[in-house]
C-alpha cells in the first residue's frame, strides 16, 4: 500500500495548477507569470505531517462501507467548514457508494472530490480543458439552481463520456448555500472488466 498512499499524499500539489480565468490567451498570460508555473516544486505543505485523512485509491476500491460522512482537514484549496457553516454534498462513486461530505462555501467539486480521495482526475487542474471532472447532478432542481455553464464548459461537456442533461464539470461548480444537500454522480466511464471477459 505504500505507493498509493504516497501518491495520495502528494496529490494536493496538483491544486497549484492554474485556475481558469478567461479565454485561453488571458489564461496563458496568467500562467506565465504565476509562481506556480515558474518556481521549482514547493516544499510539502504543512498538513503532510498530520495523519492523512486520505484513503489510498487502492483501499478505496476495496472498502465495504456503503456510506460515509466525513469532513476534510485543511489542505489544498479546501478549508474545513466552520462549525455551523457546513454545506453538505454527496458524491455517488463509480461503485455506487455514497460519500456525504461537509464542505465550505466557495469550494468547487473537483477540489472537494480530490481532497476526499474520490476517483476524479482533474487532468487539466481545473482549467476547463479536459472534461475528466465530469459529474452528473442527480436532481434537476439543484441543477437549475446553479449558474448556467458558459460556452467553454459546454464545449468540454460535449466531449464528455456519458453526457446527460444535468452533466456539469466538477471544477466549474462552486458550493453555495443554495446547493446545500447537492447530490452528484461520478459517471462510470466504462463498465469494469470482468475476468469472465477473458474466458
Amino acid at each position: 500500500m505504500s505507493t498509493p498512499k504516497l501518491l495520495a499524499q502528494t496529490l494536493p500539489s496538483l491544486r497549484l495548477a492554474t485556475r481558469r480565468t478567461a479565454p485561453s490567451i488571458a489564461r496563458h498570460v496568467v500562467r506565465c507569470y504565476t509562481a506556480a508555473s515558474a518556481a521549482p516544486r514547493p516544499a510539502p505543505p504543512a498538513w503532510s505531517s498530520q495523519p492523512p485523512i486520505r484513503r489510498s485509491l487502492w483501499s478505496a476500491a476495496f472498502q465495504s462501507r456503503p456510506f460515509s460522512v466525513s469532513t476534510a482537514v485543511s489542505h489544498g484549496h479546501i478549508q474545513p467548514p466552520k462549525p455551523g457553516e457546513e454545506l453538505y454534498v454527496t458524491f455517488i462513486d463509480k461503485e455506487g457508494v455514497e460519500h456525504k461530505l461537509a464542505v465550505s462555501k466557495g469550494d468547487n467539486l473537483l477540489d472537494i472530490a480530490q481532497a476526499h480521495d474520490l476517483e476524479m482526475e482533474g487532468a487539466c487542474g481545473g482549467s476547463c480543458a479536459c472534461s475528466t471532472c465530469h459529474v452528473i447532478v442527480m436532481d434537476q432542481e439543484y441543477y437549475d439552481r446553479m449558474p448556467e455553464p458558459d460556452d467553454d464548459e459546454n464545449d468540454m461537456l460535449d466531449l464528455a463520456f456519458g453526457l446527460q442533461e444535468t452533466s456539469r464539470l466538477g471544477c466549474q461548480v462552486v458550493m453555495t448555500p443554495e446547493l446545500n444537500g447537492l447530490r452528484v454522480k461520478l459517471p462510470a466511464m466504462t463498465r469494469n472488466l470482468q475476468s469472465s471477459d477473458f474466458k
Partner: protein, 542 residues
C-alpha cells in the same frame, strides 16, 4: 472480445524460443496458490512492469497500476531524454492548461517504486545520435509484464503526385514537432514566405492547431513555450489566408467545438461563411454536440471577411474536396504552386458516418471544372493523421501488428496483446500474449484527447491488475511471473552488449533539464525555452 483458450497447453511460441535461446536458465518454479485480492502477487513477489513510452498513456497506466497492484515496480523507458510524449511535443504551445496533466505525472515519478529510464529507445534504433537502444528481447527477459505505449511517431500519407517531392508540401506532424521543439524536426525550416495562401488537408484538431499557428498573433505565441526558431519563422510569415480542406462535410468533420471556437475568437481574423446547404435545416432535431457545433459554424466569427478596415487574416473550412495532386510551379518546377482536388458528394449529407463519393462520376471526365477544384497556394500541409509502426522485433517475436489500423492487435478494452498460434492439431488458437499489454495511440489508433487516452490507459492497468490477481496468475505473465531484475538486469545485459548506459537520463536528470529550460525561458520572458537538440539536453547533465 476474442476468446482465450488453452493458454497453458499451447506449443512453444516464437517468443519463448527467443527468450530461451537468449536466456538458458529456466524460470523459477511457480507457486500454484493464487490469492484473490488485487494486492497480492503470485508467491508474494512484486510485479515488475516495463512501460515503453512516457506519454499520457504510459504515465496513466503506471499511475493506475501503482494504485491497484501492491508493490508493483514500474520502469518507464523513453526514447528521448525528456518525458511526456505529445504533451510536450504535440499539444499546442498556446494550450498550457492542457499540459497541467504533467503535474500528475511528476507525482507518479516521485514514487520510490517508479524508475524513469530516459534516452533509451526500445527495439527501434534511437532516432538521435545521443540515444541508447535496447532490444525488446532484453526487456522481455527481465520483466513480468510490458506495456507498449509508444504512441504514433509516423504519418499517414495521401499517396498522390507531388506529396513527397515538391518544396512547400509539409507534414503537419513534422510542422507541429518543429514548432514544439522536437529534436527530430528541429531543422524543418518551413518556408512561409512564398505567398499569402496556405492549404491544410484534413479537418481534424491537428489541422486546426496548424491553422491557429499560422493565423495567431506571434506576440501571443512569444510568451508560450514555443521553440524560438518557430517564433522567428512565424514572424516572417506572409500567410494571410488559410483553407482547411476536408473530403466530407461539416456533419462528418473530425474537429471539435472548443478548437473551432478558439479560431473564431482570434482578434482581427475572419472566418469565411460555410456553405449552409451542408448544414441540416432543422438544427433542433440534432443531438446536443453536433447541434452546438453547427450553430457556431453558422454564426461564424465576430470579425467578418468584408469588414472595413479589412481583417488582417482569414480562414475557411472547405468541404467535399478530396486531394488528387500537388501541382508544381511553372517557373520553378520543384516548388508547389497549387493543390488540385476532386469534388465529392456524400452518401447521406447529414449522417455523421456518411462517406465521400466521387462527384459526378457518371461523366467520367475528371478534368471537368465541375468536378475539379484547384487551390493556388505555395504552401500545403498534410494533416490526415498520425500512424504507429510495429517495433522491428515484433515479427520475430510473433507480436501481431495490425497494419491497416496501425495498432498492436489487442483485445480492445484491456489492451492485452493478441496471440495467435497454430496448435498441434492445426487449429488456430487465439489468446492473450502472456505479459504483453498496450495503451494509448498504439492500442487504439492515433485519435483521442488526453482524457480518452487516460481512460484507455486505466483500462489497460485494470486488465494487468486483474490478470495479476486472477486465477491463471503466473501463466499470464512473462518469466512465469517469477522474480526478475527489471532495469538492473537490462542494464547489465546492455553493458555486455555494448550499449552506452552512461547516456541514460533518470528522473533527477530530467528535473535538471527541466530547470535549465525554465531558466532559459525566464531570461526571455517565456515559461520555458526548450532545448531542441538532444546533445544540448544532455549537456545540462555534464
Amino acid at each position: 472480445m476474442f476468446p482465450v483458450r488453452c493458454l497453458r497447453a499451447r506449443p512453444r511460441a516464437c517468443w519463448q524460443r527467443v527468450l530461451n535461446g537468449l536466456n538458458a536458465s529456466p524460470g523459477p518454479s511457480v507457486s500454484r496458490s493464487v490469492s484473490t485480492a488485487h494486492s497480492s502477487s503470485p508467491g508474494g513477489r512484486p510485479l515488475r512492469l516495463a512501460v515503453i513510452g512516457s506519454g499520457p498513456a504510459g504515465f496513466y497506466t503506471a499511475y493506475r497500476a501503482m494504485s491497484k497492484i501492491q508493490d508493483v515496480k514500474v520502469d518507464m523507458y523513453e526514447a528521448l531524454p525528456v518525458p511526456f510524449g505529445l504533451v510536450r511535443f504535440g499539444v499546442a504551445p498556446d494550450h498550457p492548461e492542457v499540459k497541467n496533466c504533467q503535474e500528475k505525472f511528476e507525482e507518479v515519478a516521485s514514487s520510490p517504486n517508479f524508475t524513469f529510464i530516459g534516452n533509451v529507445s526500445i527495439g527501434t534504433k534511437s532516432d538521435h545520435p545521443d540515444g541508447a537502444t535496447v532490444p525488446l528481447a532484453s526487456i522481455l527477459r527481465h520483466y513480468n509484464a510490458v506495456v507498449f505505449s509508444y504512441g504514433a511517431a509516423k504519418d499517414r500519407h495521401l499517396g498522390i503526385p507531388g506529396e513527397s517531392t515538391l518544396k512547400g508540401v509539409y507534414s503537419a506532424r513534422e510542422f507541429v514537432g518543429w514548432y514544439n521543439g522536437l529534436p527530430e524536426h528541429a531543422d524543418l525550416a518551413p518556408d512561409l514566405t512564398q505567398g499569402d495562401e496556405a492549404v491544410i488537408i484534413g479537418q481534424g484538431n491537428v489541422a486546426l492547431d496548424v491553422a491557429r499557428m499560422l493565423l495567431e498573433d506571434v506576440n501571443v505565441l512569444r510568451k508560450s513555450d514555443i521553440a524560438e526558431h518557430a517564433i522567428e519563422t512565424l514572424s516572417k510569415s506572409k500567410v494571410k489566408r488559410v483553407h482547411i480542406v476536408g473530403r466530407r462535410g461539416p456533419m462528418q468533420a473530425a474537429f471539435t467545438i472548443k478548437e473551432v471556437r478558439e479560431l473564431m475568437r482570434l482578434p482581427s481574423v475572419a472566418f469565411h461563411p460555410i456553405d449552409t446547404s451542408l448544414v441540416p435545416p432543422d438544427l433542433k432535431s440534432l443531438p446536443r454536440a453536433p447541434r452546438r457545433l453547427m450553430e457556431i459554424l453558422l454564426q461564424g466569427s465576430p470579425t467578418r471577411p468584408d469588414d472595413s478596415p479589412p481583417p488582417t487574416k482569414s480562414w475557411s473550412l472547405d468541404f467535399l474536396l478530396k486531394p488528387t495532386q500537388f501541382l508544381p510551379s511553372a517557373t520553378s518546377p520543384t516548388r508547389l504552386a497549387a493543390t488540385e482536388f476532386a469534388r465529392t458528394t456524400l452518401s447521406s449529407p447529414f449522417d455523421p458516418n456518411a462517406y465521400a463519393l466521387p462527384s459526378d462520376s457518371s461523366t467520367g471526365d475528371s478534368s471537368s471544372s465541375n468536378t475539379t477544384v484547384v487551390l493556388p497556394a505555395p504552401l500545403a500541409f498534410r494533416s490526415i493523421g498520425y500512424r504507429s509502426e510495429p517495433l522491428p522485433e515484433f515479427a520475430a517475436l510473433g507480436v501481431p501488428f495490425d497494419d491497416r489500423w496501425g495498432v498492436i492487435s489487442n483485445d480492445g478494452r484491456g489492451g492485452r496483446v493478441r496471440h495467435e498460434e497454430r496448435g498441434a492439431d492445426a487449429a488456430m488458437r487465439v489468446g492473450a500474449f502472456p505479459g504483453l499489454y498496450c495503451a494509448g495511440w498504439v492500442k487504439r489508433g492515433p485519435t483521442g484527447v488526453i482524457a480518452s487516452t487516460m481512460e484507455d490507459a486505466f483500462a489497460t492497468a485494470d486488465a494487468i491488475a486483474e490478470d495479476w490477481a486472477g486465477g491463471a496468475g503466473h501463466a499470464r505473465f512473462l518469466n512465469g511471473g517469477g522474480a526478475v531484475a527489471g532495469w538492473e538486469g537490462v542494464r547489465r545485459e546492455s553493458v555486455g552488449g555494448g550499449v552506452d548506459t552512461a547516456r541514460v537520463v533518470d528522473w533527477e536528470g530530467w528535473r535538471r533539464i527541466d530547470a535549465a529550460e525554465r531558466e532559459r525561458g525566464r531570461a526571455v520572458g517565456k515559461e520555458r525555452e526548450k532545448f531542441t537538440r538532444t546533445a544540448d539536453m544532455l549537456a545540462v547533465l555534464g
